[in-house]
Amino acid sequence: MIKLNGLTKTYATTEVETTALHDINLDIGPGEFVAIMGPSGCGKSTLLNILGMLDSPSAGEYWFNGTEVARYSEGQLAQMRKAGIGFVFQSFNLIDELTVFENVELALLYHDIPARDRKARVQAALERMKVAHRAGHMPQQLSGGQQQRVAIARAVVSQPILILADEPTGNLDSHNGEEVMQLLTQLNEEGTTIIMVTHSHSHAQYARRVVNLFDGRIVAENLRAAA
């Protein structure tokens, strides 16, 4: 489903050029659950952003479902994103001014879905994440774990084929962290491809494959048996 060939990302300032990703080659098939690990600054988030089409590579190829998207414009990327990718962030990135329901609904707003279907799907997603009783609250009124469940509801409501999670448990206590991991595992078992960046070795255990990054290069890939 995803194929990266010689993917490179450099950031240029006026004085120095930093290479964040260096000649990355990676294949990820449908239904996989991949964890990306590595120390701070190794390029994990950059890789995830490019995978999520939030950023474009400086060189190399990015094949997504048989399409080369590395040179796509922002507008084309938005179309691709909309069609197939859901996001979960470490800091949740819920919009403070919107209610829980509206935050989840946001992910469907820019799709052509009739209002009634949209409401139904949002309701279903909230129930599934066990936050339906909080639908009318503002994000700040929720605990961290609840906020992340809302964020996951937002990621899944558009029924993406790929979910990208950037340290989804980074701001959560261990109990809530476990809960979020179980939700992600469940989604993976239902067929959604999941790519997750994490610092936590224990949470990386949930993934069936771990990619280790160091200084912008892949240094190790471990396949593990399904848990």
Binding site: L54, D55, E74, A78, N93, L94, A107, L109, Y110
Partner: protein, 832 residues
């Protein structure tokens, strides 16, 4: 400590250039506008306050309320009033009069037409305009003397001493200069340069016929201003209380055509206007020897605009400061952590805000220095500013700046200083939810003001255009006015002059009349229908030559015009009060026909009675008039007034002006040849030429000026409001970066995001419309009601102003919106 505050303040200014520019430039423009308006208003309010003892001085004013028309308010009064005030009214110490006439003034080879003013000998004792030469008590004591202003002295005498020199008025009256007065200040309602004692040979009003002049006794002939001084400690109310009885003693209602037994006080009211308020008298427009009056509506209106502009700038200040609070939150928190008390923080932020306001003030003063000459010539007033001399205005503007600074700084100072350091440092957020609502409310206020001003300005402009292009019923373009044809040395030459004028290529018609259109003068008479002898109908009267209607392009709608060939069409009266035969022909206008209850066709051949003794204090002398023609209605006044019922009569002895109609092809050449004809025939007098359309435009000069000033300052208000919106949009775009990032991650495209932001800024503008529309509608309905002929208050003005504001708001925020919307979402999320 202070150094630290200043350092931080200056670095903040330098770092946030856009924000600083908006705050300082916006406030500077607002302060400069306010200062200019304050100078204008102060100039208006300063009128006549320089007159010594003005607290005891009054101008008597007359209001005529003839049945069947709006009251006629006049700042001038009847000739006999001054004497009556002195002899009959308790509390009046002294009274004096001043009149006005145009005279040819000659000294050596210098010959010009000037406005000269017959005044009572005690004039300078009551109105103590400073005399540079001559004694106020005696300077006008002898008839046939002259007091001139410095300006006139320089014009005629150069460096010579004028006192003792002899000047000739109107070619035959020698007058000796006995005094020189300082030029009357520009903020005096009186505009006088040349005075001579009433009763001098050259005083046309009084001297022709001496004490027998009917005008000397008439209470309905209004030609002089009357000023009086009350004794110290006199209540003016007690003086005014004696006026009704005075009027009833001297005015016989029957003698002026009113039914016997009616109350003279109902027809004529005399009132006392305090000298210091004469400039704002509602009677001011009809007064001799005077500058155009001001009006309170203008003073209040512009004061209001100045306040609104300052308010808009203060709101910018406040909005941008609260908006930026987030960015300063960390600084505040750190200061608190290291021990700052809340009071210190409040002082720091207020101080910073006041500092910015004072920067703006310096800039504003520079702007005013730059613009003042242009502004002064624009409002046609000698407005100047001296920092020390005008300490009151300066104090006002410094206060305005400081208060704006304090107001602008107050809210952010209190809010910022109230942040809990721990929360701020931990979450890097400042809990800005609440002030967002306040900001939106303030933006609504700004736009409501801007939209309201925009509507008012466009309607005022619309009405001015309408008045300019209104079909007045007469041609005013290419109509030259030659004044002075009624003078003794000119009348015998009129036939020759007519022939020679008509021979000029391009001249299409020549006709005389007693009054020229749009001059502000009017004569009225009372007519009765034989079938309703008790009903006095007040009618405007014009004396014309038969060619008058042709020359002004006025159509005869029924009957025939007057004719030179028919004896019954020409009045033989050679002077005011002379007898006339029965059955003289008259032409009336359509308004008169309506007033009489006839269609134009029905009116032809109808007989009316006119009292030809009106104004003479003699008994009634009724003569019949026959209507031979009805002419279309034509406006001879400003459109504030309706067309009055008017009757036209032909009398060759009462003509003052020729109108010379031209084809407009080469007006300068025609003017030159008209001048040559006059100079050939009347070499002793300079030719006086004017244009009808210029007289008409002069009627609207004040309106046009106010309209332009209104438009200018409204435009500035909108500009400043937009500056604020621009800053706020920049801030909002920044504040919503994360939200926009999230939205983009979940599929929003550039269009979606731009629409989102535009809608956010459209809402306050739309709500502002709801507030501005009714207020503007209410104000404009009242304003337009002052015009007899006016535009409708079309919804288009409102919609256009609202749409205009919306479009301006969009243009203002689109740039920011596009920038934010186009950014890659990862940039937005990275800073989280």
């Amino acid at each position: 400590m202070l150094q630290n505050y200043v350092t931080v303040a200056l670095r903040n200014l330098a770092k946030h250039k856009l924000y600083s520019f908006i705050n300082i430039a916006g406030l500077a423009v607002a302060l400069a506008s306010a200062l200019l308006i304050m100078l204008f208003v102060r100039d208006e309010l300063s009128f006549d306050k320089q007159m010594p003892d003005h607290e005891r001085l009054y101008r008597a004013e007359a209001t005529f309320a003839p049945p069947g028309r709006d009251p006629l308010r006049m700042g001038s009064t009847m000739f006999p009033l001054a004497g009556v005030l002195k002899s009959e009214i308790a509390g009046v110490e002294d009274a004096t009069r001043i009149g006005q006439q145009s005279s040819a003034v000659k000294y050596g080879d210098k010959l010009f037409f000037e406005e000269v003013h017959p005044a009572d000998p005690n004039f300078f004792q009551l109105l103590r305009f400073p005399l540079l030469k001559g004694d106020p008590a005696t300077v006008l004591a002898r008839p046939n003397t002259l007091v001139i202003s410095e300006r006139i002295a320089k014009k005629y005498f150069g460096d010579e001493d004028p006192v003792g020199k002899t000047v000739t008025l109107d070619e035959k009256f020698p007058l000796e200069v006995t005094g020189v007065m300082a030029d009357v200040p520009a903020n005096s309602h009186l505009d006088i340069d040349i005075l001579l004692p009433i009763g001098s040979d050259a005083d046309r009003y009084y001297a022709h016929g001496g004490a027998d002049n009917p005008g000397a006794q008439s209470w309905t002939s209004i030609n002089h201003n009357t000023y009086f001084r009350v004794a110290p400690g006199t209540s003016i109310a007690a003086v005014e209380a004696q006026f009704p009885a005075m009027v009833r003693r001297h005015v016989d209602p029957a003698a002026i055509g009113l039914p016997t037994g009616s109350d003279a006080w109902d027809l004529l009211k005399i009132s006392a206007m305090p000298y210091g308020r004469i400039h704002f008298s509602p009677n001011g427009a009809l007064a001799v020897a005077s500058r155009p009056p001001g009006d309170w509506a203008t003073v209040y209106g512009f004061t209001m605009i100045a306040a609104l502009i300052l308010l808009i700038a203060a709101i910018n200040f406040m909005n941008l400061a609260t908006a930026r609070a987030t960015q300063r939150a960390r600084e505040v928190a750190m200061r608190k952590v290291v021990g700052a008390r809340r009071r210190q923080l409040v002082i720091q932020f207020l101080g910073e805000s006041v500092l910015i306001a004072l920067c703006a003030l310096v800039l504003a003063l520079a702007l005013v220095e730059l613009l003042l000459p242009a502004f002064a010539s624009f409002v046609d007033r000698p407005i100047t500013l001296s920092y020390l001399g005008d300490w009151d205005v300066m104090l006002g503007i410094v206060l305005a700046a400081v208060v704006t600074g304090l107001l602008g700084g107050l809210y952010p100072a209190l809010i910022l200083s109230g942040f809990r350091p721990a929360t701020v440092l931990k979450s890097n957020r400042s809990g800005q939810g609440g002030s967002g609502g306040l900001r939106a409310a303030l933006v609504i206020v700004q736009f409501a003001i801007s939209i309201g001003l925009g509507i008012v300005a466009s309607v005022v402009y619309g009405q001015t255009l309408y008045a300019r292009s209104y079909d007045l019923g007469l041609h005013k373009e290419n109509r030259l006015i030659l004044t002075g044809i009624g003078r003794d040395q000119v009348t015998p030459l009129l036939d020759t002059m007519r022939t020679q004028l008509l021979a000029i290529p391009g001249v299409t018609g020549v006709a005389g009349s007693d009054i020229e259109p749009f001059s502000g003068n009017e004569n009225n008479t009372i007519m009765r229908q034989p079938e309703h002898p008790d009903e006095a109908i007040l009618v405007r009267q014009l004396v014309v030559e038969p060619e008058f209607f042709d020359a002004y392009g006025m159509k005869i709608v029924a009957g025939r015009p007057l004719s030179r060939e028919r004896g019954e069409d020409r009045s033989p009266a050679a002077k005011f009060g002379d007898d006339e035969p029965d059955n003289l022909s008259i032409v009336i206008n359509e308004a008169a026909a309506r007033r009489l209850g006839y269609t134009p066709a029905e009116a032809i051949g109808k007989v009316l009675r006119e009292d030809i003794s009106v104004g003479t204090n003699e008994g009634e002398r009724l003569r019949t008039r026959v209507i031979v023609g009805v002419v279309q209605d034509a406006h001879f006044d400003s459109l504030r007034q309706p067309v009055f019922p008017t009757r036209y009569i032909y009398n060759p002895h009462f003509l003052n002006h020729y109108v010379v109609a031209t084809d407009g092809r080469d007006t300068p050449a025609v003017v030159e040849q008209v001048r040559q004809v006059w100079d050939r025939l009347v070499p002793a007098l300079p030719a006086r030429l004017g244009f009808v359309d210029q007289n008409y435009d002069a009627l609207y000069a004040q309106d046009a000026l106010r309209g332009q000033m209104f438009g200018l300052f409204s435009g500035l208000a909108v500009l400043i409001a937009c500056l604020g919106l621009f800053g706020l949009a920049a801030f909002t775009a920044e504040r919503r970066t994360k939200e926009i990032g999230v939205r983009k991650v979940f599929g929003a495209n550039v269009g979606n995001i731009v629409a989102l932001l535009l809608w956010q800024f459209s809402k306050p503008v739309l709500i502002a419309n709801l507030i501005a529309w009714p207020v503007a509608w209410y104000y404009l309905t009242g304003w337009l009601d002052g015009f007899a002929y006016r535009i409708d208050l079309s919804p288009l003005y409102f919609i256009a102003a609202g749409l205009g504001a919306l479009v301006i708001a969009w243009l203002t925020v689109t740039m920011h919106s596009l920038r934010v919307a186009r950014a890659k979402p990862v940039l937005a999320l990275r800073y989280e």
